[in-house]
Subunit: 397 residues, 2 copies
């Protein structure tokens, strides 16, 4: 043991003794992660295989093909990034922005802010158009912004997880083509759950996550790039300023060359493959209709209890419902109670809606009538105890 001669003694200060893992079974009805399908969880625990194994290469092809189906796109460059949805978000920007490019970000919630932050890090000239958190953009205001700013990219969020708004998409892709600009769309909380047509909507760049509509745990970030975005990427002057997310390199691994780039997270992709298989078996229209049906039951039930929904009915996202915390209710105490007493996670507000709303998710495997009933029963029977007995006071800011 030559290498152990004269080496320092082992420091055991951090050698904590632990019991085997014993996480509880939660029902995750917040903004995500959502519960994964049991078949997906089983797939995660399969023995890994090599990332260049012919059988893994075949599995990669299956994942790509089914991602194209759920996104309704023929885009060749459709792959799961080896990181979470935020990594896939960054990949859409990192590969296409060149320093000085003007990027118009349409901000109507937290994830629009994040797009603007990221785009700036890639040295874009970031300009924004904003709507209050809970509203959507009209075609007219987007067109005015395109005319004013003449951006290279319009980046926006289809399904805003922070507000529960679903942006109507009709006409936006055509506008972007008229104004010679790429359309970049966040579909984190819509993929697999809400009607979404990348190609018909003329979306050039899209990203999503594994842990919502796809019923897989978090850890992969589906990514899709259309021909117009690919042309911009291939024409860039310098290397993509992000090695891990560089699609010009990833394309050699996911394409026919199979050139080693990084060691793929094979087990997560086992899960993704099964998640997509199950979704394809159910059928996309059926999954969309199920999400809509269960969300409508939730909305009706909450309103019947006298609760107010933050988003007007026509803009509501079936996957994520924002409920205004009634005056006099300690919203956080109620969600802590749901978690600690019932093992149910419901989210609080994020950013500008912090303290003002609860966020209820019905996503993928969790979009069921049973979960709606369970949650409505708890709101009916246990919320009253969290109403202040004092006279009505202003909501916690």
């Amino acid at each position: 043991m030559a290498e152990l001669h004269g080496v320092p003694p082992i420091n055991t200060a951090h050698r904590v003794g632990l019991q085997p893992i014993a996480t509880p079974s939660r029902l995750l009805l917040g903004p995500g992660p959502s519960n994964a399908h049991p078949t997906v969880l089983q797939a995660l625990s399969r023995t890994p295989i090599g990332h260049l194994d012919p059988l893994y290469v075949e599995l990669m092809g299956e994942v790509q093909e089914l991602l194209r189906y759920v996104w309704q796109t023929d885009n060749r460059l459709t792959i799961p990034m080896s990181g979470t949805g935020s990594a896939a978000m960054e990949a859409t920007l990192a590969n296409t922005i060149e320093p000085g490019d003007k990027v118009l970000v349409a901000i109507k919630g937290y994830f629009g802010l994040r797009l603007a932050d990221m785009a700036g890090r890639y040295r874009a000239e970031v300009v924004t158009v904003e709507r209050p958190w809970g509203e959507a953009f009209s075609l007219d205001e987007l067109e005015q912004a395109l005319i004013r700013h003449k951006p290279a990219i319009l980046a926006m969020v289809h399904a805003e997880t922070s507000t529960g708004v679903c942006q109507p998409m009709a006409g936006i892709g055509d506008l972007c083509r008229q104004h010679n600009c790429l359309l970049l769309l966040d579909t984190v909380t819509s993929l697999g759950a809400v009607p979404l047509y990348l190609d018909d909507w003329k979306v050039d760049l899209a990203y999503s996550c594994s842990q919502k509509g796809l019923s897989c745990p978090p850890g992969l970030g589906p990514f899709s790039m259309g021909p117009r975005a690919e042309a911009k990427m291939m024409a860039r002057q310098g290397k993509v300023p992000n090695w891990y997310l560089d699609v010009t390199l990833l394309n050699q691994y996911w394409g026919s060359d199979r050139v080693y780039h990084h060691t793929a997270p094979v087990n997560m992709n086992f899960g993704m493959r099964e998640a997509l298989r199950l979704l394809a078996e159910e059928g996309l229209e059926q999954a969309w209709a199920r999400h809509r049906r269960n969300a409508e039951a939730l909305w009706a039930g909450l309103e019947a209890l006298g609760l107010e929904l933050h988003v007007p009915a026509e803009l509501r996202l079936p996957t994520l419902t924002t409920v205004r915390i009634p005056k006099g209710v300690d919203g956080k105490a109620f969600t802590q109670h749901l978690l600690n007493r019932h093992g149910i996670e419901v989210g609080g507000g994020l950013g500008a809606l912090g303290g003002q709303v609860w966020r209820i998710g019905l996503m993928g495997f969790n979009s069921t009538p049973e979960n709606v009933t369970t949650l409505l029963n708890l709101f009916e029977t246990e919320l009253p105890a969290f109403r202040s007995s004092a006279p009505v006071v202003a909501a916690v800011a």
Copy 2:
């Protein structure tokens, strides 16, 4: 179903029908991934919990603490990045390089080249010092390079997976401090398996992966940053030019603030927690000694069969052995035979060693006497059939 009015029909061209996943059980004795411990695989399939759940926060603390133990460091900023080892590699560079910083990369294999490529993307002035693939650097040549280039960072690889060389580390950290430079170390193929003392070696930045010495599937990239690197990061003029890997933001999630950054890959971290728990139970010295013992048995057995090892004994990595492909042997045909007939993965050469060596990994859960015996038996009994019957010819280039 207002949202379904007037929408395009579903394109089913990509709706491929698949059978349930049926990947085979492989014995992964290549450069990685290695097989994961069964207890780790079981942990992956637990029901996800929220990334801000108090129980998950507790688990994060356990993972951090045990990473400190296996790395032998007190570094506060020790976390698993939510990507593979390459993402953690990029994180060490992205957070500390400011445009124009001089980064000296000591290249003695494929992963040194990658460090240089990545550093350039962060607008460093990259300078290099090189050794042939299969050798290590002397203290003297590193000192000469530090004197000549006066870099802000010296980046190098402890355990070069492409060559099987373990770089002797004595004195390098002291040199870097004398020359006012950070020491950045790739420990992808050494963490948990080969003696490694971040703090005693005065390493300022390190990264690793989950799928080798830690016996976990690929998907997480352990990362550690010491106080000198943190000071450089905190003094930077602009934002870190990579949002996903921005440690100034991640620190708020992993630190006491628990500010949401991205949705953590919770199931992968369940696995990581169990992998680290098992390693702490075995004990670091015991794991190091086991890897050394099994590697020595492999080396002796291969040499007894007349095979030549690419790296001199004193520089050999216990985790990854490079074996020269004998003249007249079709190296690729033999590894394909091992995979297809025996379900055993052995790696081929990478980069400058392509076609010249096999790469045999004995890592983590796979470093056992049984695996050594299995592989030696196959080399003894089945390799002869792959020797050309023609007169000896030059090895495949």
